[in-house]
Subunit: 285 residues, 2 copies
């Protein structure tokens, strides 16, 4: 199972739009996710730590995450958003490696939504203040009334294959030897398949065909939807986009298999990344 | 080919971050997309109408759309955003039916991005004013410096199959007899497959398994990424979510095929919608 999937919460969306039902959820059975900023609290067994709603500052906005075996679960919006939203810091990676899979999924979803609230206290349309609505699945402008919804940014990440070899790239600033799949945000006005082809052409100069979907994963830094794909290239001549990447290279199936085993010509992405899932999938095709 | 895909523009993203290159694009060869609000201008042949940059108000922000056979293409940000962003009005549907496929894709992408600018003149983080950056692919806050990026909202839309029949729904307020695939926004913290399962369960009470990806399409009202999927249901007992849907029913393959031919027990979605593409795909499986 991919990291950040497999949450056991029932999102109970019917509660969100029903103020009475929502108020009913905020009783003594309700649990509050323990968060220090955007870092999760956890116990020794790798389970998320939870408190009661009384633990929250009375002025804090609370997001209704859903029901865990009937128990209402909430998370509090932190004072400010993540300053470097696209980066996972080392303490978060530590937590990611320690948390149980279903708890990691709950944490990821909660992190994305409370961070979105923290970064959207004002209306993009008029600059007025916004306030939480629908149990935390909406914000409304107090000035012009515009409703705003949590953001999820689709990102394509792709394995490009030519003649049995795979194209991988090393980002600028990455450690020596670290390689992963190319990736990039889907832009307005393009399909997933078109975004894959554009990104690969931009970053490597290689044209691709026959793009297929493989798997997807939510990625809460801050709230990407990673869309894993595979594509074929007819030509292997690479022209690296040096503004984004330090290196782009082709690797054989043996090299990829060795790297996955921790003993290859490159350092593979972390376990939690969909890139690793894609590499394992490809190594078996 | 799906509507809104197949744009012939080279997005030339390397130009965006290079102020000199961008300035060089804004010469006499540059073309400005003719827009009346968010409605496209077009000629009798179904081609988009273009003017020169001199047609734009001097204070208007211009988005660099890309290159059309080497010619730089721009679109101007309208004074305000679309008041009903999720709805396509009849005049737009008329234009969608008349425009050439590759021009419809250019229009869709341009519409999404200029509308995003019109609706994001303020910083969600601090309420300060924002200004366009990177040729229209970013906005920066003039007060706190936060960068904002165009939004693309992933939406799952799915055919649910049980025992050779397909589940389709009729939205509240839709005309009598109109049915289409169930659909809903992907939320933070879930994969595409999880979003499909949650949406179907919420809207119809039916549990699904074996979700597979079929196709995707950009949908510029205002900027969805439609992700078309297929799933199997083990049970056909429906419990309609009456806050969202008027009706949910199962249709046989013959009924779907008849409806696609314009002579069935329901009125199918429009040609431009991915739902129609999915129905055609399924009728042939």
């Amino acid at each position: 199972m991919l990291a950040f999937t497999g949450s056991r919460l029932d999102r109970a969306d019917n509660v969100r739009a029903d103020p009475d039902a929502l108020a009913g959820m905020m009783g003594w059975r309700a649990r509050l996710l323990a968060l220090e900023g955007l870092m999760p609290g956890m116990d020794d067994s790798g389970a998320l730590a939870w408190g009661s709603l009384a633990d929250a500052d009375p002025d804090t906005e609370l997001v209704f995450l859903g029901l865990d075996e009937g128990k209402p679960c909430f998370a509090a919006v932190p004072p400010r958003g993540d300053a470097s939203p696209r980066m996972a810091n080392p303490a978060v990676w530590q937590a990611m490696a320690s948390l149980r899979a279903d708890d990691l999924a709950i944490y990821g979803g909660a992190r994305s939504i409370v961070d979105w609230h923290a970064r959207h206290r004002f209306c993009a349309q008029c600059g007025g203040g916004t306030r939480m609505a629908k149990g935390g699945w909406q914000r409304d402008c107090t000035q012009c009334g515009t409703s705003h919804f949590p953001r999820t940014d689709p990102v394509t990440i792709m394995l490009v294959e030519h003649d049995g070899r795979l194209m991988l790239g090393r980002g600028k600033g990455w450690g020596e030897g670290r390689f992963s799949a190319l990736a990039g945000f889907v832009e307005p006005g393009e399909s997933i398949e078109e975004a894959v082809a554009r990104e690969v052409l931009e970053e490597s100069g290689v044209a691709v065909r026959d793009v297929t979907y493989v798997a997807s994963q939510p990625w809460p830094f801050p709230s990407q939807l990673m869309i894993g794909c595979h594509a074929h290239a007819d030509d292997d001549a690479i022209r690296v986009d040096e503004t984004e990447l330090a290196e782009v290279r082709w690797f054989s199936r043996d090299e990829v298999t060795q790297a996955l085993a921790g003993d290859g010509p490159f350092v593979r992405p972390p376990d939690q990344a969909i890139a690793t899932h894609l590499l394992k999938w490809w190594s078996k095709t």
